[in-house]
């Protein structure tokens, strides 16, 4: 009941010997993630709490059949780490690094989109399939407090807001199939519409919740997809940042990508386009489960 990540998915952690990587790796493993190997160049042959460490991703793939990679590598090294994973045949890459130069992101995303691989990030807290597995800090130390297993797919441009949306769903009596923090930067591995399509194709996902922000074409692309192909499953969107429309053009308040560069990518316009394409617009977090239940005929 998920997209991308299940409890059997074999995960390698790049940069596993770093401080944050070590903590997050163990938290993920405790949750149920099938972590098969770690990679830190120069540390091949060591282990982290029983997880074998290799010098290259290729070795982790050859030795353990790793198919997903959690990339804990600093911003300026993140491009090469993701490309290494891609070339080694990894098909799900989760890359939390923040403040990655945009020209690096463009090269990485270009390479990813020329394949069938999915890259979540940069600037992401990760992905979680509640009750099965997680990659990244998503859910913190007590994921069960926030994420209940269920049938709502979440895609959010904000990592923190994935938790808030899931929490609101749980309080409203709903659970999550898979939640994806797609990345907060102007350029991300995959677009919001790509995740919407994955949720549409996932038999266990019954409804989709989106969190959007000013800037980037992500929300417009979702609206265009739904208008062209029809609404297959109910979609509810919460779009934040309307207040920015009264600020001078080009002023960024939140994420790097969340600035209003021109006409058409402000929250008001996005809400209008989504609404016209059949998306239900939530007024706030509490409204998300209300809207989903109404759409599913359970209100």
């Amino acid at each position: 009941m998920s997209i991308l990540l299940e409890k059997n998915t074999r995960v390698v952690v790049q940069g596993i010997t770093g401080t944050q990587a070590r903590v997050d790796t163990l938290v993920c493993r405790d949750y149920g993630t099938h972590i098969v190997a770690g990679v830190t160049p120069g540390r091949g042959g060591q282990d982290v709490e029983g997880i074998p460490v290799y010098d290259t991703v290729r070795e982790a793939v050859e030795q353990h059949g790793a198919e997903a990679s959690l990339v804990y590598v600093p911003a300026l090294a993140a491009k090469d780490a993701v490309l290494e994973a891609l070339v080694a045949g990894i098909h799900l890459i989760v890359a939390p690094a923040e403040l990655v130069p945009l020209n690096d992101a463009a090269k990485v995303v270009d390479a990813v989109r020329k394949t069938d691989a999915v890259m979540v990030g940069f600037n992401t807290v990760g992905i979680i399939t509640p009750g099965e597995a997680r990659m990244g800090g998503m859910g913190g130390l007590d994921p069960d407090e926030i994420y209940a297993p269920g049938t709502v797919g979440i895609c959010s441009r904000s990592g923190g807001m994935v938790a808030e949306v899931a929490w609101a769903l749980k309080k409203g009596g709903l659970g999550v199939s898979t939640a994806v923090a797609m990345g907060g930067d102007a350029i991300t591995g995959r677009r919001m519409v790509d995740y919407v399509r994955m949720f549409e194709d996932d038999p266990m996902t019954k409804a989709i919740a989106l969190f959007g922000e000013p800037g980037t074409p992500n929300e417009r692309e979702v609206a265009e997809h739904l208008r062209a192909n029809g609404v297959k499953k109910p979609v509810v969107a919460l779009i934040a940042g309307t207040f920015q429309e009264n600020q001078p053009v080009g002023v960024s308040f939140g994420h790097a990508a969340a600035f209003i560069a021109g006409e058409g990518d402000g929250p008001t316009e996005k809400k209008k386009m989504l609404s016209q394409s059949g998306v239900r617009i939530a007024a706030d977090l509490k409204d998300i489960p209300v809207q989903i239940k109404a759409a599913l005929g359970r209100g």
Partner: protein
Amino acid sequence: MLPLTEDKAKVWLRRQGFPVPDGVVVVTPGAAAEAAARFGGSAVVKALVPTGRRGISGGVRVVNSPEAAAEAAHSLLGTDVQGHRVDEVYVETRVEIAAEYYLSINLESFPPRLLLSCHGGIDIEQTQATNPDAITVIDLDPTEGLNPWDAVSAWKSAGVNGEILPRLGAVTASLFTAFQTADALMLEINPLCVQTDGKLSLVGAMVGIDDDALGRQASWLADEAKPEWMFAGRNLNERERAVFAANQRYRGGMIRYSELDGDIGLIFNGGGAGLLQHDLILAMGGRPANHSDMNGINQDKIKALAHAVLDNPNIRGLLISANHLQMTRADRKVEPIMQVLAERGIDYAKFPVVIRMFGPREAEAREAAAMVPGVHYLPSGTPLEDACRLIVDLTRTGVTQ
């Protein structure tokens, strides 16, 4: 994005062998006259500010003598162009122009894009709105780069023909390579001129560099990071500058602070949660005194942000709020703010403080908050909406308990 002033942009272009007119930075009318004399009297005097639209705002003067150059410099120095004070002018030799074109490379979403026009000197935003057919937009491949022959095709589709095409193609391809090497986000050559002798000249040049890449760029480029330049057309006040300085001084994380004209101080963590709560507070009738974000757990940065918010004389209440922190320690966010609150002589009977901060080490964060009397640390799981409602109500009534 860090915009470079024209002189820096042209130094950068010249170093890589691009054809750029000779020019010099001066700060007095006398020096402007000397420079113009060196260029044979015929020169262009430009206000040296990091913004576009200088021509439209009267910041560019064409002169025919050293005396006229001095006069132009005198009339520009000390004035305000597009919100920027003119402290320096750029005196440049005048090029004999046969044709003018427009070129820019932009990386704001995927993929990077090349914009071309056979009309030089245009205002690109205005042209996009009123005459989009005059602009040719080409998607660029960030991995493969731009081939000169593909650049030739691009110029042909922009309506340029003839013997200049191979030169235009070569320069355009090289500009994209230079763009990527310098970690630029924006490069505009306007006008890109064909001289009467048939050679190309990059007469107008603007470059914006990615802040996130400054650490790996040459120091002369990185040293251009000035707080005023972060915000187009708006000078930062002292509190905003202090936050910017703290970002540069201390390593790790990134704090943001933008002042507004309301009375509710906001210390947010998490870009998305901050945007949503700001919207909600406005919808509830509250008036934010600022927007902010505290990314990371650098204690000095968080204190600097708290000081900036509290230094604003207009604030009458404070909301400290975040999305669920997931892996980040709540105490490392709350403690430094409580230290700042404790060392200030605020009457908490009249100044409401609401905290919504849940996650690892929340118990320790609550202990730290308890040191400051009168703080409302909301119970775990309280919705974001309720935190906004409480600070709006408390600030409106002035009753804190």
